[in-house]
């Protein structure tokens, strides 16, 4: 296993730049997730690490070796495809031994390794089955097995759970995580599903428009998003934004919105312009009778243990995650107010979060 480092990586297709000047270091044995909406460049980045695309410029290090221009077959990595890409004309056993045959292992060695991987993934009972007879989950396991038998320097996975149904996806998520702990392999995992990313990752890189916006641990990404995009993309529902037509000065700790003063974490950065946003997650808001933003209840969603109340205010719809016991009616007049100081101000010009006591 090795660490992976990409330096100033760039990929253009004609006029379109899919990946812009990206830098990343993925530590040895880390489960690293590239997260972003479709077309953000996450898959292109992964394919460049795999050697399925060659970078336009920049370097990729696998361990200490620069592999940017090497062919996929020369890189010693394993790739799990979204559509599994199991060879349909071979049975499970041959699919698993296919990568080993190329590397010139003896027949007995191949047999041991295949059986070992099959046992680990609990597919040893279907080794002689045809691919077409397998369920989605078993195909997924075989695809993982084909990656495992190689004992490669790194695992690359391109939305491997994307085609499974929701129930199964959760199960495979757990299995993947356990597998990662058992095998301890450096893994780069691409997904657009933030829940998957949150539950699997040691660290997440959020990408948009070909750029890496933030790369950090899931809790940091969630609580202290570096940009407005990260804040809105992560979380379900995403962060609430309230546009404020006022500049932010250093040491500022209150903010007047619609005549009401709100405490905000002490700011350490001056905003560039006068149009900024006040960002707060739904669970850090509460409904109140006074001292908040006025609005009326627009919708209520029951989530079992929590309730999401959508409040229509002069600043647009604001979502509040409340206790299940809170009872509100549609069109009822309520006020919304922060219940703690997990508040982030985003600079209107750069969309980046401003430094503060909270965002240090």
């Amino acid at each position: 296993m090795s660490k992976i480092k990409i330096v100033n990586l760039q990929k253009s297709f004609g006029d379109f730049t899919a990946v812009k000047n990206s830098n990343l270091t993925i530590n040895d044995k880390e489960f690293f997730v590239l997260l972003g909406p479709s077309g953000c460049g996450k898959t292109t980045t992964l394919r460049m690490i795999a050697g399925l695309e060659l970078p336009t410029s920049g370097e990729i290090y696998l361990g200490d070796e620069e592999v940017g221009m090497l062919r996929a077959s020369e890189r010693d990595i394993a790739f799990v495809f979204q559509l599994f890409a199991l060879y349909p004309h071979m049975n499970v056993k041959n699919n698993l031994s296919f990568p080993l045959k190329m590397q010139g292992y003896s027949r007995s060695e191949i047999k041991t390794r295949v059986e070992e991987a099959a046992k680990l993934l609990r597919i040893d009972h279907i080794l002689n089955s045809n691919i077409s007879s397998l369920s989605g989950g078993d195909r997924q396991r075989v695809a993982l097995g084909r990656a495992l038998v190689r004992r490669p320097k790194a695992f690359l996975m391109d939305e491997p759970l994307g085609t499974l149904d929701a129930e199964f996806r959760e199960l495979m998520c757990l299995e993947l995580k356990k597998l990662h702990i058992d095998v301890g392999a450096t893994t780069v995992y691409v997904t657009h599903d933030q829940l998957e990313a949150m539950s699997l990752a040691d660290r997440i890189a959020v990408m948009d428009g070909g750029e890496i916006l933030q790369a950090d641990e899931p809790s940091v990404i969630y609580n202290k998003p570096a940009t407005k995009f990260v804040a809105s993309f992560i979380g379900s529902p995403g962060m609430n934004f309230i546009s404020i037509d006022q500049g932010i000065s250093n040491e500022q700790s209150t903010l007047n919105i619609e005549g009401t003063n709100f405490n905000i974490p002490k700011q350490y950065e001056i905003s560039k312009g006068k149009k900024n946003s006040f960002g707060i997650r739904p669970e850090n808001l509460s409904l109140t009778n006074e001292g908040g933003l006025k609005g009326s209840v627009f919708g209520v969603e029951y989530l079992g243990s929590r309730k999401i109340v959508t409040v229509k205010t002069n600043f647009g719809e604001i979502k509040v995650k409340t206790d299940i016991s809170t009872s509100v009616k549609i069109n009822e007049n309520v006020q919304v107010k922060p219940s703690n100081d997990n508040i982030i101000i985003f600079d209107g010009e750069t969309d980046k979060s401003l430094k503060s006591e909270f965002m240090n």
């Binding site: 795999a50 050697g51 399925l52 062919r71 996929a72 077959s73 890189r75 990595i77 394993a78 790739f79 495809f81 559509l83 599994f84 890409a85 199991l86 060879y87 349909p88 004309h89 296919f98 990568p99 190329m102 590397q103 045809n130 691919i131 077409s132 989605g136 195909r139 084909r146 190689r150 085609t163």
Partner: protein, 314 residues
Amino acid sequence: MDTSRSYLEPSSFSKKLAATIIIVYTVITLIPISWMVMTSFKNVNSAISYPPEVLFEPSLEGYVNLFTNRSRQSQEYLDSLPAPETWYEELVRSREMVITGPSKFLGRYSNSMIIGFGSTFASVFLGALAAYAFSRFRVPLKDDLLFFILSTRMFPPIAVAVPIFIMYRKLGLGDTHLGMIILYTVVNLSLAVWLLKGFMDEIPKEYEEAAMIDGYSRLQAFFKVVLPQAMTGIAATAIFCMIFSWNEYAFAVLLTQFNAQTAPPFIPTIIGEGGLDWPAIGAGTTLFLLPVMIFTIILRKHLLRGITFGAVRK
């Protein structure tokens, strides 16, 4: 009203109608073929009798005549010979003839085999490589090239017979197996490239990518992963190519005479006494039909099988 069936299912009337049409069509197509097979088992007289005989005493005379050269002898000479050793000698003697040697049919037949299978293999192999390249790589002027390849089929091949005849003479390819294989391959190649490109486009490129990540070169991935999955297309293409080169008549007449003559120009020239030997011709065409028939039946299971068997979820 019968409400037990779904609207998507054809009614029993349309099923019966479809079955009737298929049966009628099958009978119409099978009449000439069965007449040909029947002729091959008739003797010379019943083959040309009028009205035609549908019921007749089967004879292997046609097949014997097809494979042998014979000469007519006087009764005294025949009597002076030792008793015939084989059933076919006896049959020939009963017609007051003796076998003077094997006919050219076997040689012509094997020429057909060599040229037919040789050009089919070459067309499919080269066609698969070209189709793969067109399907996967950024080939400059791809669309123009594909159209150019197709345009070679826009005129009947025989339209270029004269230049090809002259070219082949100058190159020494006339009446050679290699020459005929090249000619049929060139004619079939455009069809092969177009047909196979369609099938290659259907194979997700993830398969080769997976193989390349598993340590195989692109060419190895092509042979081990792409080709097995393109079997349906390869089988269909091979059947088309085989049928064309097996049946081709005009170029065979023009370019081959002795060494590389195929069966189609040879069979109609089988002359018996006092005209064409119809039972022998019937026997020759019946035997000529078999290889393509067997070839098609063997490849049929690949035609019926899906390409990816659902290993990739789309």
